[in-house]
Symmetry: C2
Subunit: 331 residues, 2 copies
């Protein structure tokens, strides 16, 4: 087996010493200027690994670059303060794409109330967009290690859209029909659940949180490991994106693989003390137009399992490990 990204991250953390310990969450935690908790994240999108320009407009690449960082802030219970960008690109890519990429990023930044306060620009052989974002936590600082046995496991939104869109693009290419498909919209224009997380921090008794960037199976595994619990997911309760279901019919495929393992959903996976979210669901869904669904339970033990038709099986990640698996956009 090839060493995967997470193996490498663990080895690098040991290289970096104790300061690297916070790498386990979506963002590092800092004590801000007035004692407020700030969180800080960084993410890179690489051309032909995380995106392809023949499949995504430059504006959508810029949007996704910022959303990846905003989603990390959301998963920590943070509101954005500001972002910086670093863009590396071949000189010949600049005229065609860079301004459109930044225009997409800037529009998303304005919409999210996250000013982009600076940046770095380099010549390079391939396009890489790095975004770093700072956020502040007005309330609970959410982490991966806060789940307890007995917690309910919840997810925002419906899953499988981005992975279904990739399957469709691989089969059909970027035809007008594919680019107009609702699943494609989930790939090209995802949201970061920043206000949704704040709303829940203010009202529910939350345990752990993570954004679904590696796929539900993989990210549930991160929470289980960090919290020292097992997680049991009721497969039939996991909400399927309507676009993913439609792609499944078109391609004669069961969308469950996309729903359980697809990456870069940017939905939130949360655990909460029993009974603390249920009474809030109607108001949450009315406020945000986003579903909030209980999909399982944290239990004593370790690992992630799923239960379907009373059969329990381990739910191993088949997620977007950029070094080990074929499920991302790269070759």
């Amino acid at each position: 087996m090839e060493p995967g990204e997470f193996d490498w991250i663990r080895r690098i953390v040991s290289c970096l010493g104790s300061g690297g310990s916070e790498i386990g969450d979506d963002a590092a935690v800092l004590t801000g200027p007035d004692g407020e908790t700030w969180v800080w994240t960084i993410d890179t999108l690489v051309e032909n690994v995380h995106f392809r320009f023949d499949w995504l407009e430059p504006e959508a690449v810029g949007h996704r670059g910022l959303i990846a960082s905003l989603s990390d802030l959301a998963a920590m219970g943070a509101e954005p303060i500001a972002a910086l960008t670093a863009l590396a690109a071949p000189a010949d890519a600049l005229a065609a794409r860079v301004e459109r990429l930044y225009a997409g990023l800037a529009a998303t930044a304005q919409h999210a109330g996250c000013p982009v306060v600076g940046g770095d620009l380099s010549r390079a052989g391939e396009v890489q967009l790095t975004v770093t974002a700072l956020g502040r936590c007005p309330g609970q600082v959410l982490t991966r290690d806060g789940a307890q046995p007995g917690d309910e496991v919840w997810v925002t939104g419906a899953l499988g859209g981005p992975a279904a869109a990739l399957a469709l693009l691989l089969r059909e290419g970027p035809t007008p029909e594919v680019l107009a498909h609702p699943a494609y919209d989930r790939l090209a224009h995802p949201s970061a659940r920043v206000p949704e997380a704040q709303w829940l921090v203010d009202r529910a008794r939350l345990g752990a949180a993570i954004d679904i960037s590696d796929g539900l199976s993989g990210d549930a595994g991160h929470v289980a490991r960090a919290s020292g619990v097992g997680i049991m997911i009721e497969t039939e309760r996991v909400p399927h994106d309507a676009g993913a279901r439609d792609v499944g019919r078109q391609l004669d495929a069961d969308p469950i693989e996309w729903v359980l393992h697809g990456g870069e959903e940017f939905e939130l996976l949360l655990t909460a003390r029993a009974g603390s979210i249920g009474p809030l669901v109607n108001e949450f869904e009315a406020t945000f137009g986003v579903s909030l669904t209980e999909i399982g339970t944290a239990i004593e033990g370790a690992g992630v399992r799923c239960i379907e038709n009373e059969v329990v099986r381990p739910l191993e990640p088949e997620s977007w490990d950029h070094f080990g698996t074929p499920s991302d956009l790269g070759s």
Copy 2:
């Protein structure tokens, strides 16, 4: 003429709107509710543009990646708080180089008191290392726009070493003699002048500051433009790195081009109210083992000129513009 990096940055700033205005300095400025000022910077090193692995050990690449950000903090009058990294690399480069790169970065981080609190790792076609660093300003926040006519212009250290080393590498390749040359050491193991800047903030009446990353001519131009002044540099007073002088003799070249235009020096260019630094020079040099030299004057007007043998001429940048000029490491 190809559009250079700075043209693109100006266009992108206009794209990003008002939030991008602080891109003009080495770092963005954030103000906390209690008035403490934090600064925030980001820099990317790209393989075969900013460095070549046949010319630099992986540890030196990691070192330089962090130093570029620490030097930006120094130029703002800031002390480091923490850093995050984003590394993208081909899978086959990982085993050989990534751990050594991070080891070099971690050693420099420890030495500088700048913990690396997290990071991102991606598969990519080429190695790109992005470092973002946060710093706090206990005193004056230094910017490029603080120069006034009548200010003295000062520089830390001696210049030309990194560019001389590149000239030597281009001519000779990475022979044992080249790698042992003092000019090469300036290329591979530069310092960030963080404590030096703090010391001067505490004692002198500083105007503007910038780190010499684009070359003395280019960075003096940044200060002149931002401050709305002219800068007159006395060419003969600009300290020549001893290694650069030696390379000049070896290659039968005048090192002045390296001294005036060479990039990634990571020395500081400062302006100060007349007479406020002179009395401090001996103590500065004794404290840090680094020279501090008056090289010119800020004057009414615009642009950078140099004076030599009573002849004044414009000093145009021939600096490390990653998109326009041949003076960097790229093809």
